[in-house]
């Protein structure tokens, strides 16, 4: 299973390198969104809570623009039947999840670096708290967006359906992550953020078990 998962990841990685569809759309979105925010702020002094909110707005919409590719590309190229033949549903989901996880981590690290470089109010004062909340938030984002991508891949009007379906599912994660980012920017300790960290951890566990259970039904169709 692990070998097949890795092989699926390698397949996605190589086909991504050939087309660079997801990477390009992610990069374009990040650059456009951050520069628009920067231009509109100008010389204005913005608060820390606003910056951490904007940070997750950019993350949410860039995830929406790039992560649906995992399953949509299989449907578009008509290769999903072949995947049915060669691997079990849970293996396929693990492979796609691994690819999306790596994509989400690369994307969010770039966004975080750009934010620290470009925004005066975005200063990470408690780096350990930021790292923990960042990793937990990214795992939740990757899992949720992978299962939603699988659900919408067979539907028409994928581009609109994806953010619409993702929004209610990702809302608790985004709200708590905004709060956690704010805490790490204010330099609060782990004790202050323990409720939020526990909420994000619960969210990750729920999404992981839920998506591995439901993927069988989504995929067998």
């Amino acid at each position: 299973m692990v070998g097949k998962t890795y092989a699926l990841y390698r397949k996605d990685y190589h086909s991504e390198l050939r087309t660079r569809y997801a990477v390009n759309s992610l990069a374009m979105f990040i650059i456009v969104a951050i520069s628009v925010i920067l231009f509109s702020i100008g010389n204005e002094q913005i608060t820390q809570s606003l910056t951490s909110g904007l940070f997750w707005v950019v993350i949410f919409f860039s995830a929406m623009s790039g992560l649906a590719r995992a399953f949509v590309s299989e449907e578009e190229r008509g290769t999903s039947l072949l995947l049915h033949l060669i691997a079990a549903p849970s293996t396929i989901f693990s492979g796609k999840l691994l690819f999306n996880l790596i994509l989400v981590f690369c994307m969010n690290i770039i966004i975080a670096v750009l934010y620290t470089a470009l925004f005066d109010a975005f200063i990470i004062r408690n780096f350990a708290l930021f790292a923990v909340s960042f990793i937990l938030g990214n795992i939740g984002l990757a899992v949720a967006s992978t299962i939603i991508a699988a659900i919408i891949s067979k539907a028409g009007a994928k581009g609109t359906l994806y953010p619409v379906l993702s929004f209610p599912i990702l809302l608790p994660l985004i709200l708590t992550s905004v709060q956690l980012t704010l805490y790490s920017n204010q330099g609060s300790s782990f004790a202050d953020a323990k409720f939020e960290l526990a909420i994000v951890l619960c969210y990750d566990v729920i999404m992981l078990t839920g998506s591995f259970m439901l993927f069988d039904f989504v995929w067998k169709d």
Binding site: P172, Q186, S188, D192, F195, E196, A198, I199, C202, Y203, V205, I206, T209, G210, F212, M213
Partner: protein, 132 residues
């Protein structure tokens, strides 16, 4: 195969319950020592009483209400609240303000007043005897 769904469903239910419980928990702590409130500079619920000797300002046009509060040890601080003065403010025994100490005064987002109860056992007894 069936066990997988049972087990997974159980995990989801347990963690959903835990998450719902966590969502109801508030991170805002009660603080009755104003020296700590002034030093820590984070959102707290400060409890104390209104200093009636010091002047209070009710700016109706800008809807800003400011007054002085005092804790049990006699520390005083100025509280600024964006809104009108609560109705039963003058008769309050103690006040709970939610907010953050910033720029030399406490910026309150919410004021709760604790009033003496109208219905006290002794009074009822007194009324009864007077009626007889």
């Amino acid at each position: 195969m069936k066990n997988k769904y049972l087990f997974g469903g159980l995990i989801i239910v347990i963690f959903l319950g835990f998450m719902a419980y966590l969502f109801t928990q508030s991170n805002i702590k009660y603080e009755s020592d104003f020296a700590k409130v002034m030093k820590e500079q984070k959102v707290v619920k400060a409890t104390g009483s209104w200093v009636k000797d010091k002047s209070y300002v009710m700016d109706i046009q800008n809807r800003v209400f400011s007054f002085y509060m005092e804790d049990a040890d006699g520390h005083q601080m100025k509280v600024v609240y964006n809104g009108s003065m609560p109705n039963n403010f003058a008769s309050a025994q103690s006040i709970v303000v939610t907010g953050e100490y910033k720029d030399g005064c406490f910026q309150a987002t919410n004021i709760l007043t604790k009033c003496p109860s109208k219905y006290e056992g002794q009074n009822v007894q007194a009324v009864k005897t007077s009626n007889l």
